[in-house]
C-alpha cells in the first residue's frame, strides 16, 4: 500500500502545478450550480408554489447546493483521459513493467483528483452555502449523514469504474472520447444534478431509475433528507454494490484481454 501512497503524493504534486486550471473549472461547476438555483427560484416564484413534488424551496436549494458539490467532485471534464491516453500513447508500457497494479494506480490518481478538486472548491462552496444559510437544511440525523458519506464514496468508485470501462476499450478502438462523451451527457442529467429524478416525467424517471447514475447524487440526497426509510436505504446500497461487482468483473475481463492484445511500439 505504501507505493500507492507515494503515487498519491506524486499525483497531488502534479495537480498542484495545474491548480489554477482546476480552480477555474471548479468555479465553473459552482456557477452552473448557481444557475440551477436561479432557475428553481423562478419556478417557485412563477406559480407561487410552496412545494414542488415533495420538495420545498429550502429543500430544493439544499439539494442543488449539495448536488453542485458532488458534481464538482465527480463530473470534471476529461474523465477517463488518463487511461485512454496511457493506452493510446503507449505510456502504459512503462506502467506494465513496474511492480504496481495498473488499474489500482489509475484508481489512486482518480481519487487524488477528486479529493484535490474538493479541497480547491471547499472555500468557495462554504461561502455559497453561507450565503444560502437561511435555506440550507442539515441532514436528518448523524446516521443519515454517515450513510450519505458512505454512499458518496461508493459513488466515486462506481464513477471511476464506468469511465475506466469506457477507456480501456481503447485497446480495441484507439479513440474512446465519443463513448465517454455520451456517458457524461446522460450522466449529468440522469444523476439528478440539476433536478431531482422524482420531478421528471414518468417515462424519463423510469429510464433514469434503471441506470446506475442515480447513485451519484439522487440516492445520496434521498438519504441526506431522510426521504427513504431504512429498507429503501439497504435496497439502494445493495443495488450500488451489485453494480460495483458487475462493473468490476467487466472491467477486469476487458483489462486482461486488452493487455494480452496490447502491442507497445517505439522505444
Amino acid at each position: 500500500m505504501k507505493i500507492y501512497w507515494h503515487i498519491a503524493k506524486a499525483t497531488w504534486q502534479e495537480y498542484l502545478s495545474y491548480r489554477l486550471n482546476f480552480l477555474l473549472e471548479v468555479i465553473g461547476g459552482i456557477f452552473a450550480m448557481l444557475i440551477a438555483i436561479a432557475v428553481w427560484y423562478a419556478v417557485f416564484a412563477g406559480d407561487g408554489a410552496k412545494a414542488i413534488g415533495t420538495f420545498t424551496l429550502a429543500q430544493m436549494v439544499t439539494y442543488l447546493l449539495i448536488a453542485g458539490v458532488i458534481s464538482t467532485i465527480l463530473f470534471l471534464t476529461a474523465q477517463g483521459d488518463d487511461i485512454n491516453n496511457d493506452i493510446n500513447r503507449g505510456t502504459i508500457s512503462a506502467l506494465l513493467i513496474k511492480p504496481i497494479n495498473v488499474p489500482f494506480f489509475w484508481l489512486t490518481r482518480d481519487f487524488v483528483r477528486k479529493f484535490f478538486t474538493l479541497i480547491l472548491g471547499a472555500a468557495e462552496l462554504a461561502i455559497i452555502i453561507f450565503i444560502f444559510r437561511d435555506y440550507f437544511i442539515l441532514p436528518g440525523s448523524i446516521l443519515n449523514l454517515t450513510l450519505f458519506g458512505l454512499a458518496i464514496i461508493l459513488a466515486a468508485i462506481l464513477h471511476f469504474l464506468l469511465f475506466a470501462i469506457l477507456s480501456v476499450i481503447a485497446f480495441w478502438f484507439e479513440e474512446t472520447w465519443g463513448w465517454r462523451f455520451v456517458m457524461r451527457i446522460v450522466m449529468e442529467v440522469s444523476a439528478g444534478a440539476i433536478i431531482p429524478l422524482s420531478l421528471f416525467p414518468g417515462f424519463w424517471r423510469t429510464i433514469f431509475e434503471i441506470l446506475p447514475f442515480q447513485y451519484f447524487i439522487y440516492f445520496p440526497m434521498q438519504i441526506y433528507f431522510g426521504k427513504i426509510d431504512i429498507n429503501g436505504i439497504f435496497t439502494g446500497f445493495a443495488y450500488v454494490l451489485a453494480w460495483l461487482l458487475i462493473l468490476s468483473c467487466l472491467f477486469l475481463i476487458l483489462w486482461k484481454r486488452g493487455v494480452r492484445r496490447y502491442v507497445g511500439y517505439g522505444g
Partner: protein
C-alpha cells in the same frame, strides 16, 4: 487596398475555410466508432435539455414570463448559435491555442501567409458539432415551425439573424480576450471550462436572474441577454433598449479584444526552444 484585392483575399480565406472544414471531417472520421458515438452524444445533449425543460414545466406553467413553447424557441436559438461557435472558434481559442503555445507549434502558424487570428480561430473545425448539431437544430426548428409556435415576418427573421451574428461576435470577442491571456499564462483551458459554464446561462430567459446575478449577467456581461434578445424578436417583442445595449457592448468588447490580441501577439516571444 483596392476592392478587387480585398475580394481576392476574401475568396482565399473562404477557400481556406472550406479546406479546413474538409480536414475537420477527415480528422473526426479517422475513428468512426468514436465519431458516431460523439454524434449520438451531441444529439442526446440537446434532447436531454428539452427533457429538463419538460420536467420544469411539469411543475410550473411559466418561467420568468416564458411558457414551454417559447422556451423551445429559446433553446433552438441557443443551440443554433452554440453549434456554430463550438464547431468553429470555441475550442480553437480556448484549448488549441494554449496547447500550441505550450508545445511551440504556434511559431510555425505565424510563418503562414494567413492572418494569425484567422488561422488561430478556425484551424480545427469540429465536424462532430457540424453534423450532430445540424441534425438536432434543424429538427428543433422544423418542430417549432410545423407546430406554428411562432410565425415571424421576414423582417423579424432578418433582425433575429442579425442579432444572432452579434451574439456570436460578442462570444468571439470575449473568448479572444481570455485566449490572449494564455500568451502569458500558457494554460487557459480552465478559463475555457469556466466560460463554458457561464455561457450555458444563456439557455435560460434573462429574467430568471435576480439581484447581483441580474446585474452581472444582464448588464456587466450580458450573457443572459445575447440569446434571449434575438429570441424575443421571434416572439414579436422588440426590446429596443436591450438591442441597442447588446450592440454597443459588442462593439466596445470587439475593439478591446482585437487590440488586446494584437498587443499579446506583439509581446509573444516563442515558447519552444
Amino acid at each position: 487596398m483596392s476592392a478587387t484585392a480585398a475580394k481576392i483575399i476574401n475568396m482565399r480565406y473562404l477557400r481556406l475555410l472550406k479546406t479546413l472544414i474538409k480536414f475537420g471531417f477527415i480528422r473526426a472520421t479517422a475513428y468512426p466508432p468514436s465519431f458516431f458515438a460523439a454524434i449520438i452524444g451531441k444529439v442526446l445533449r440537446i434532447g436531454l435539455t428539452l427533457v429538463f425543460f419538460q420536467a420544469i414545466y411539469l411543475h410550473t406553467s411559466i418561467l420568468a414570463g416564458w411558457n414551454y413553447s417559447e422556451i423551445l424557441v429559446l433553446a433552438a436559438s441557443y443551440f443554433s448559435i452554440e453549434a456554430i461557435i463550438l464547431a468553429t472558434f470555441w475550442r480553437n481559442l480556448m484549448f488549441w491555442l494554449p496547447q500550441r503555445l505550450q508545445d511551440g507549434s504556434f511559431d510555425s502558424l505565424l510563418t503562414k501567409p494567413v492572418a494569425p487570428l484567422f488561422y488561430t480561430s478556425f484551424k480545427i473545425i469540429d465536424a462532430f458539432d457540424i453534423v450532430a448539431s445540424s441534425i438536432s437544430v434543424v429538427l428543433l426548428w422544423w418542430y417549432i415551425f410545423s407546430k406554428q409556435i411562432i410565425s415571424p415576418s421576414f423582417f423579424e427573421i432578418g433582425v433575429f439573424l442579425f442579432l444572432s451574428v452579434i451574439a456570436m461576435i460578442f462570444v468571439f470577442a470575449l473568448l479572444l480576450i481570455i485566449a490572449s491571456v494564455s500568451f502569458w499564462t500558457i494554460t487557459a483551458t480552465g478559463a475555457g471550462r469556466l466560460f463554458e459554464s457561464v455561457f450555458r446561462a444563456a439557455r435560460f430567459p434573462g429574467d430568471i436572474f435576480k439581484g447581483p446575478a441580474k446585474i452581472a449577467l444582464l448588464y456587466i456581461l450580458p450573457i443572459g441577454l445575447i440569446i434571449s434578445v434575438p429570441t424575443d424578436i421571434l416572439r414579436g417583442k422588440f426590446v429596443w433598449s436591450h438591442i441597442i445595449y447588446i450592440f454597443i457592448v459588442t462593439v466596445i468588447l470587439s475593439i478591446i479584444a482585437f487590440r488586446f490580441w494584437n498587443y499579446a501577439l506583439r509581446r509573444y516571444s516563442s515558447a519552444s526552444s
